[in-house]
């Protein structure tokens, strides 16, 4: 019941928002309360073991069921932690924008739907919520209303629907060969002798390609940089944390809990995704280097970093999955800080491109520090969190050995180098003296609080992340 409430509450409250004609202050209060309440419900669900909740039975094989297992708890915790911050940020960011009510309505609804993905007990439920997520985030992407925004939204829609079609094929394979879609640690086929391995692998590959649209793997990454035209709270949360991490989460679920590592290990169903993700790692960084628009640069950086996670997951080992999960959490934190900071630069300093941030380090000191810190973390400078996950990924890859994992390690290092360049250049440019002084409106407290708190979390995790890593390792071992 808690699970259903956690999903239904934000969706219902979000849908009802236009009904109550609230003034801005009351509306913000309403939204924040809804978000915090949902996060509290999630916290409760994580702390306490809740049995599965079957919502709808289509037939005895196909049901819509909610359950929060270890893997789901990780994603749920991440989303539940970050959404209130994003909401607080969005209040200040969207202050003078148009169509605020519809924006916040869909923003809140997306929260519930993302939680639905985290709380899915089987692939069908995940698929349903996945589709609904596309629909609830579409108006957010198109919010700007300009031609560009609409085109970006349509591109997002087409890509997502195409991906879902492929994913559906995988779902069908699973039902046919496995008899059910439930997520079982180790996969449905663990310990069972198989006759249809080849077909299963094909089904998995199609499923991987389908979900890899949201996870932005080359060649299906095209929607993400274009979607950077959306308002910053959307890009930050949805496209750095919720939507894209849903894709990654779905792939992890399908790999470890549906098809299982035993079916996939050592076959083309592992090698092709490994090759694609390795390529995407370098590709994303190279494109980010070339890109001068700040948000699009960060979008390409996301493309690259998501493939780090998938690379770790596709190693099909406990260490690989642990490393991937570490990067899932750490990257979400680092990226959201970067996007939020860039959002403030867009709004308050009218700086959209790299050369426009000149001098902003001195006029907006807190933002400069926060941006530089997250840039250093992303590059993988020890002892910050980015280094910890990168080291774990490389270690896991070297443990497996073989040509593809080794190429992955090289790709990681090249990517770290390129990340250093494309993130440190804006960071340093910020501190160079501008040709003329910047006239700026002061930065609101809401922005500062959000960014400062998240940076402190980054620092805290850099100093002490052992319990988290142990928990992830246990989850990963269980998933094998």
């Amino acid at each position: 019941m808690t699970l259903l409430l956690a999903i239904a509450l934000p969706v219902a409250l979000g849908a009802l928002l236009p009904v109550f004609r609230l003034k801005t202050g009351n509306r913000n209060l309403y939204l924040m309360l809804a978000t915090l309440l949902t996060s509290a419900l999630c916290a409760y669900a994580i702390a306490v073991d809740i049995p599965a909740l079957r919502l709808i039975s289509l037939n005895n094989k196909l049901t819509i069921t909610l359950r929060l297992d270890e893997q789901g708890k990780i994603f749920c915790a991440l989303v539940a932690f970050l959404w209130p911050f994003a909401m607080l940020y969005a209040f200040n960011y969207m202050k003078d924008e148009h169509k605020q009510t519809s924006f916040f309505s869909f923003f809140l609804m997306s929260y519930g739907v993302t939680l639905g993905i985290a709380m899915s007990a089987n692939l069908l439920t995940l698929y349903v919520f996945y589709e609904v997520l596309t629909l609830t985030t579409l108006p957010l992407v198109m919010h700007g209303g300009s031609q560009k925004s609409i085109r970006a939204g349509l591109k997002y829609l087409y890509y997502s629907l195409g991906g879902s079609a492929f994913a559906f094929i995988g779902l069908a394979y699973l039902v046919y060969f496995g008899g059910q879609t439930t997520f079982v640690p180790g996969g449905l086929f663990k310990g069972i002798s198989l006759m249809h391995t080849q077909q299963l692998r094909l089904g998995y590959l199609l499923c991987f390609l389908g979900f890899s649209v949201k996870a932005s793997v080359f060649p299906l990454h095209g929607w993400l940089p274009t979607a950077a035209v959306a308002p910053t709270p959307v890009t930050a949360l949805l496209h750095a944390v919720a939507v894209v991490k849903s894709g990654v989460f779905a792939i992890i679920r399908v790999t470890y809990y549906s098809f299982g590592a035993s079916v996939l290990a050592g076959s083309y169903a592992q090698y092709i995704p490994l090759a694609l993700t390795t390529f995407t790692i370098v590709f994303g960084c190279t494109m980010a280097l070339k890109e001068k628009h700040l948000k699009r640069r960060l979008a390409y950086s996301t493309v690259s970093n998501l493939s780090y996670i998938l690379f770790g997951a596709m190693l099909l080992s406990a260490q690989g999955l642990t490393a991937g999960l570490m990067h899932l959490i750490f990257h979400a934190l680092m990226k959201i800080v970067l996007f939020l900071a860039v959002g403030v630069y867009n709004k308050r300093a009218n700086a959209y491109y790299v050369d426009q941030v000149r001098g902003l380090g001195t006029t907006l000191p807190l933002l400069g520090v926060v941006f530089t810190l997250s840039s250093l973390a992303m590059t993988g400078i020890p002892p910050l969190i980015g280094f910890i996950s990168k080291w774990a990924l490389a270690e896991a890859a070297l443990l497996i050995g073989g040509p593809l994992p080794l190429m992955g390690v090289v790709a990681l290092l090249i990517s770290a180098l390129l990340t250093g360049i494309y993130l440190m250049v804006p960071a340093v440019t910020m501190y160079t003296r501008p040709s003329q002084g910047n006239q700026l409106t002061p930065v609101e407290a809401g922005f500062k609080v959000t960014l400062a708190t998240l940076s402190l979390v980054v620092l805290a995790l850099s100093a002490y992340s052992i319990p988290l890593i142990d928990y992830l390792a246990r989850t990963a071992a269980q998933a094998m």
Partner: protein
């Protein structure tokens, strides 16, 4: 678990933020806080240095992956002390140097961070801890380089950062490979695993790690940042960059040399050659330069070459490397102290003359005995004059290489390379003396053509605090050198366990003729070279004055000639390849797919249309009859029409109206009937009607089935 170690490392980090915040109000206050913190750290380091009978350790397991391991043995506690001492001295010099400075809070913040990280490296016990702190200090020292924020400083900073990141990533690759092969990165584990793993497995990771640490040490070919970054940084920071941060790189190289490649000829020769390149190149560039700090920076490069030379000799000599080990350690120590003194002296000169160009500062030091003595201590030591500390370390290194090629000759092998190395060693010693003479003469002997009187009239060049700092540093340097068999040898001996070296078989007599002659050879060469150098490096200008000519070979700049074009080439090629790939789905695949699908759909649609067209032309062809002007109607319509006509005629006649006409309604009803007939016929002949009937039939069938 000795808590002094983490306190030493983390205290500067803790003091950094208060220093920065203080600096926002008043810059000088942050410098004072920095002095205080440095004093505290120095006290701790001194206590550690004096107390270490065995080794002290500290560990935080699981920190940043593999855990933080700190250990202090003889060498590490020595170098921690040296680092703390140098930081203290430069921070005492800072108030005068930065009297009119800016961003002092930022300077203090990053200085303290760098101190903490440096101590972290020097006290580390495994390569990952060293790497973590190494990366931290690479980034925090960048702020030193860009402190003045001039265009040259920014560009030098760019180079510095790029090499730091590149070196760091290369080193990380090497570390990962090493970790995979050995299973641990702790120093003892490396030493134990090395004999079993063998040279071939370890060479690649070793080279990668060498690249990383070597970049920081200023090893050729990654030295490009040194001559640019050291001059643009403020003088106290230059002293630290040159004196200590390069030694951080050397520390790493020492670690892997002594543990992975202890008795390895290939590695030893490699380092020897690299050291020689550094030595000679640095000395030549120093001779050419007319910027005071750039000369000193190139001199650093040269001395690092000597140190690498020593590391190479250690690896070559294997078990018998006591002399080489001692030489390396002592030369590291000496060079740190020498550069401390020399850079601070350069800072004093800059403070008062606002220039570093030899042509402008010449003669500044003429009436300043204090400054002259201080500078002389440093210069004499670096030139390896007897009774100065540099002499001891260079002698040891000289002995090491001689020992090696004698050993080779005894075995009957050719030792040409190593004999040549010894010659280059001697020649470089001469060059060193030569450029030091050049500097000394320029600053303290020559007369400035125009500004001499103003220079002579200048008051005290150093504030009391600065004078203390410089004087103390020079004194330490001088005291160490007076009796090399005393303090210097004991310092060298306490460092030997770290280098896995044994005590020397016999004590070294530094003033024995065999050693003295080697040193004097270099000095003689330098003295003879000086007049030639002067001839070549000075020309007469318009006023008939001799001026120094800048013979700096800018065309040889490796960075501008090779590295920058290479990097931009790689980036451009990469983006050239990736950009079309980015668009491949949007511009090619999707349009192709959608166009082909559209085509197929259109074909199928026209097929369907064709079927219905066929039907319309054949079976359902409408037969159009000529429209008759006169409607026909039938008997019913005629009967109804006639009735209606008669009735309306009667009614109209009753009311006295004109009659309408006998066939009015007949015609009307006939028209209606004909139209209806026509429409019905048209409808009945359409495809849609056929389909409706078909559907109705199906429905009827269904109803029939269901109702049964």
């Amino acid at each position: 678990m000795n808590w002094m170690l983490p306190v030493m490392v983390f205290l500067p980090f803790a003091a950094a933020l208060p220093a920065f915040l203080l600096g926002r109000r008043k810059g000088a206050a942050s410098l004072q806080l920095m002095i205080g913190a440095n004093l505290l750290v120095f006290a701790l380091a001194l206590a550690l240095f004096l107390n270490t009978k065995g080794t002290a350790s500290f560990a935080i397991p699981g920190f940043v992956g593999l855990g933080l391991n700190l250990t202090a043995d003889g060498f590490r506690s020595l170098y921690a002390l040296v680092a703390a001492f140098m930081w203290l001295m430069t921070s005492l010099f800072s108030p005068q140097y930065f009297e009119h400075g800016h961003a002092l809070g930022r300077y203090s913040l990053f200085s303290l961070f760098t101190l903490g990280a440096t101590l972290g490296v020097f006290l580390s016990d495994d390569l990952l801890t060293a790497f973590v702190f190494f990366e931290i200090l690479s980034f925090t020292s960048y702020v030193w380089v860009i402190h003045e924020q001039t265009p040259q400083a920014m560009r030098a900073g760019q180079t510095y950062l790029a090499i730091a990141i590149l070196g760091g990533m290369t080193m990380l690759m090497g570390l990962m490979m090493l970790y995979q092969r050995v299973g641990s990165l702790r120093f003892e584990a490396l030493a134990q695993a090395a004999p079993t793993l063998g040279h071939d497995t370890l060479m690649l990771p070793g080279l990668l790690i060498l690249a990383g640490f070597g970049a920081k040490a200023g090893m050729y070919p990654l030295h490009v940042w040194l001559p640019k970054a050291h001059p643009v940084a403020p003088a106290p920071a230059s002293a630290l960059l040159s004196g200590i941060l390069t030694k951080v790189g050397v520390y790493g190289i020492l670690v892997i040399s002594t543990r992975l490649f202890f008795d390895d000829t290939v590695w030893g020769t490699l380092l020897l050659v690299l050291g020689l390149v550094n030595m000679v190149l640095g000395a030549v560039l120093a001779l050419f330069s007319i910027d005071l700090k750039r000369t000193l920076a190139c001199s650093s490069m040269s001395q690092i070459g000597f140190i690498l030379f020593g590391v190479g000799c250690q690896a070559l000599l294997g078990e018998h490397n006591a002399l080489a080990a001692q030489g390396t350690v002592l030369h590291m120590l000496n060079h740190s102290l020498i550069k401390l003194v020399l850079f601070m002296a350069a800072g004093v000169v800059y403070l008062n003359t606002h220039s570093l160009n030899l042509n402008e500062i010449r003669g500044y030091g003429r009436r300043k005995p204090g400054l002259m003595l201080i500078f002389l201590t440093g210069a004499a030591s670096i030139s390896a004059l007897p009774f100065f500390s540099g002499y001891a370390s260079k002698t040891l290194l000289h002995e090491a290489i001689v020992e090696y090629f004698v050993h080779l000759l005894d075995l009957g092998h050719s030792a040409l390379l190593y004999q040549a190395a010894e010659w280059l060693f001697v020649i470089t010693g001469g060059l060193t003396f030569c450029y030091m003479i050049k500097l000394f003469v320029a600053i303290f002997v020559e007369r400035h053509p125009s500004r001499q009187t103003s220079y002579d009239r200048m008051g005290r060049s150093m504030s009391p605090l600065s004078a203390t700092a410089l004087g103390l540093s020079a004194l330490v340097l001088f005291a160490l050198g007076l009796h090399p068999e005393g303090w210097l040898t004991s310092l060298a001996t306490r460092s030997l366990p770290f280098l896995h070296a044994h005590e020397p078989a016999h004590a070294v007599h530094f003033l024995a003729w065999v050693n003295l002659s080697g040193g004097l050879k270099s000095l003689l060469l330098g003295v003879l070279l000086y007049p030639l150098a002067r001839k070549w490096l000075m020309v007469r200008d318009e006023g008939g004055q001799l001026v120094y000519v800048n013979r700096w070979p800018a065309w040889l700049d490796l960075e501008d000639r090779l590295y920058r074009p290479l990097v931009s080439f790689l980036v451009r090629t990469g983006t050239l390849l990736c950009t079309p790939l980015d668009l491949i789905m949007d511009r090619f695949v999707f349009p192709a797919v959608s166009n082909s699908l559209t085509f197929i759909s259109r074909v199928l649609e026209s097929l369907v249309d064709g079927v219905s067209l066929l039907l319309m032309r054949t079976m359902l062809k409408p037969r159009y009859e000529k429209a008759t002007l006169v409607p026909h109607g039938n008997r019913l319509t005629y009967a109804l029409g006639r009735t209606a006509d008669v009735l309306t005629g009667l009614i109209r006649r009753f009311f006295g109206m004109q009659p309408r006409g006998p066939y009015h309604y007949v015609r009307l009803y006939a028209l209606i009937w004909d139209t209806a007939q026509d429409t019905m016929r048209r409808i009945l002949r359409t495809l849609s009607f056929g389909l409706i009937l078909f559907a109705l039939g199906l429905v009827a069938l269904l109803a029939l089935l269901l109702l049964r």
